[in-house]
Every structure is written in structure tokens, then in C-alpha cells.
Amino acid sequence: MARNGVVSWRRMSEKLDLSPPLVSEEAHVLAVDDSLVDRKVIERLLKISSCKVTAVDSGRRALQFLGLDEEKSSTVGFDGLKVDLIITDYCMPGMTGYELLKKIKESSTFKEVPVVIMSSENVLARIDRCLEEGAEDFIVKPVKLADVKRLKDYMTTARDVGVEESGGGMNKRKLREPCDLMMPTSPPSILPSSPLSSSSSPSKSPSPPLSSSFSAPASPSSPSSLGSPIRRLKMTNAD
């Protein structure tokens, strides 16, 4: 396969029938937080990082926005809705961020969208639960610009390389090009013939800082939950 990442990406984009507007759009983030102050701050953090933001004040409203609320389903289809990241507070009245995470991961349309949890409390058990349920990352509040910039990176990653499925899902894990992004690829791509998944050059990539939210590749046979940097950190520190 071509070593020139740009060329192989273009070929891939043709395969995937990617239209240019999709790729050049700003990332769209759905932010969920019951705190008015925090909502304003996260909104600003995201906007200053060149993201489009939709900020809602509850898990329920988030589900409504995504068209996943069973009781208030919109008659208009949400197929065209592109959400590149969902960032949610953990402690919220009604539906917690954890419950919201579960609902999103249960949805066929949005389960591939990276979900990040924010919490003012640094509770390991909580972090564990969230990561096990498929959260991409866990940020301890107050959220900093550096945190958002990091999130931006994995949204950009998925967007640069393209999306395989239609309907709102950005699959960050499966279509990364190592040459472009200096990161090794992760476990099996959903495209069996994809040239990208087999090319993994760990020696090229800088070792990511442990606080980074990039998902490092596990060996192909290991579960994807090991990809979380927080989980790796825990395992490294285990006696």
C-alpha cells in the first residue's frame, strides 16, 4: 500500500464516496451539562477550538436532540445529523452522564460517536464504569483549554480520514492513517479490505503522554477497552 498517506487517503475517500463539504466542516459537538456556568464555559472552550456547539442542560434533552428519546421522537428523521463528539457532565439530576452514555452506546446511529465524561470528582470506580461502558475519555473539572484541544485531536483524526457509515457516526478507531497522524492504527477495521488497518508502525509514532486521550492500539486480539489511556495507566501502575 502506498506509504504516502495523503494519496492513500484520497483513494480511500473515493472508495467511501466522501464529498468534500463533509470533510471540511467544523466538528460538531453536543455538550451536556446542567450547570449554566459550566455550559457557557464549555461552549466557549469548544468554539474557541473551532467547533460548532450544541449545548443542552440535561441527558433527556440530549437524547431528544439526537432523536433517541423514545417518548418524544421527532417525526423528522435525524439521519442528516452529524455529531462528532458528545461531552457530558456525570452528575446531573434526572439522567446521569453515565446513563446517557449507555443510551448512546445502545443506539445504532450514534454508538460510534465518541463520548467524553466530565466530572468534578476524580473517582476511580466512576472512571472505570464510564470507560467500560465505552466512554472515550474522562475529564476532571474544571475543563481546561488543553483538555478540549486534546478532544479536538481525536475528532479531527476521525474526520481527516473519513467516515465509513452514514448517519452521524464518526468512527475514530477504525480509519486512522498512521503516516498522516503519527499514531499507530487500532484494531480491525470494519472494511475487510481496508489497507489502513494493517499498516501499523509503532516506531514512527511518538509515545503519547499518559494524560493524552489518544487511544493506543492494543494487539488485534485484545478488547478495545484497553485502548483507554486511563486504563493503561492503571495497568501500568498495578503491582
Partner: protein, 147 residues
């Protein structure tokens, strides 16, 4: 007072707020970094929002505190929300008093909660006065600049 003097006053006030631990410099600077030419007063906007929201939360807290029987879990929840906001603007002293309040909630100590709430409100108000002063100075310094 000329621009330089005003700007110096702004800087001094800012240092004072940090040195006296009214504000966490790390967090406050983070907020300042979100300001740009298009949003030059973001920090003031956030603080204004904080104080507006505080009023609402204080009402809820007081209602819960003076209802019988007291639902300490609810009380703790409300204070948790408020504490989160204080953390977001870097209000150290207020946040510490919030933690005290939460301790009393955990111990189901109603009297302790009442006293702690008073201290929360005191610190909250003191900070408000300081911040209003700071933002006013800032605006004055800015205005002079524009002339």
C-alpha cells in the same frame, strides 16, 4: 487618571485577588484565555452568570434547609451544583466554605449547615464586591484606551 495608571490598578487588583486566595490564578487565567477581540468580556460575563445562578441555587438550598424534615441528600446535591460553579470560576474561598457545608450535610447536622451557609454567602458576597470593582477598573482602563 491616565490609562497607564488605570491599567496598573487593574493589575494590582488582579494580583490582590490571587494573593489573597479569592481566586485561583490557574482557573481564572484559563477563563481569561477564552477572551479575544470578539469576546473581550467573557470572564465578566461568566461571573455575572455565576452570580445570577447563585441566587437561584441559594433559594433552593434555603428552601431545603428550612423544610422539615430536612432532605440532606437533596441539600448536598444543590450545594454540589453550586460548588461546581465556584470551581469553574476559580472562587477558592467560596468553594472551601461549600465543602464545609457539604461536610455538615454528610453528618446530617442542620445547625452546622445553617452556619456554613452563612459563611458561604459571606464569602460569596465579598468576592462579588471585589470582582465588581475589578471589572469596573478594567472597563475604565479599556475606555481610556479607546479614546
Amino acid at each position: 487618571m491616565d490609562r497607564n495608571q488605570l491599567q496598573r490598578q487593574v493589575a494590582l487588583k488582579r494580583s490582590f485577588l490571587f494573593e489573597q486566595c479569592y481566586l485561583d490564578p490557574q482557573q481564572f487565567v484559563q477563563l481569561e484565555e477564552l477572551q479575544d477581540d470578539a469576546n473581550p468580556n467573557f470572564v465578566e460575563e461568566i461571573v455575572t452568570l455565576f452570580y445570577k445562578d447563585s441566587a437561584r441555587l441559594f433559594q433552593k438550598i434555603e428552601q431545603a434547609l428550612y423544610s422539615r424534615p430536612i432532605d440532606f441528600a437533596k441539600l448536598d446535591d444543590y450545594m454540589h451544583q453550586f460548588k461546581g460553579s465556584t470551581s469553574s470560576i476559580g472562587a477558592i474561598k467560596v468553594k472551601n466554605e461549600c465543602s464545609q457545608f457539604k461536610e455538615f450535610c454528610l453528618a446530617a447536622n442542620a445547625d452546622g449547615c445553617v452556619r456554613a451557609l452563612e459563611r458561604v454567602k459571606q464569602e460569596h458576597q465579598t468576592l462579588r464586591i471585589h470582582l465588581e470593582n475589578y471589572f469596573q477598573l478594567r472597563r475604565q482602563a479599556g475606555l481610556v484606551q479607546r479614546v
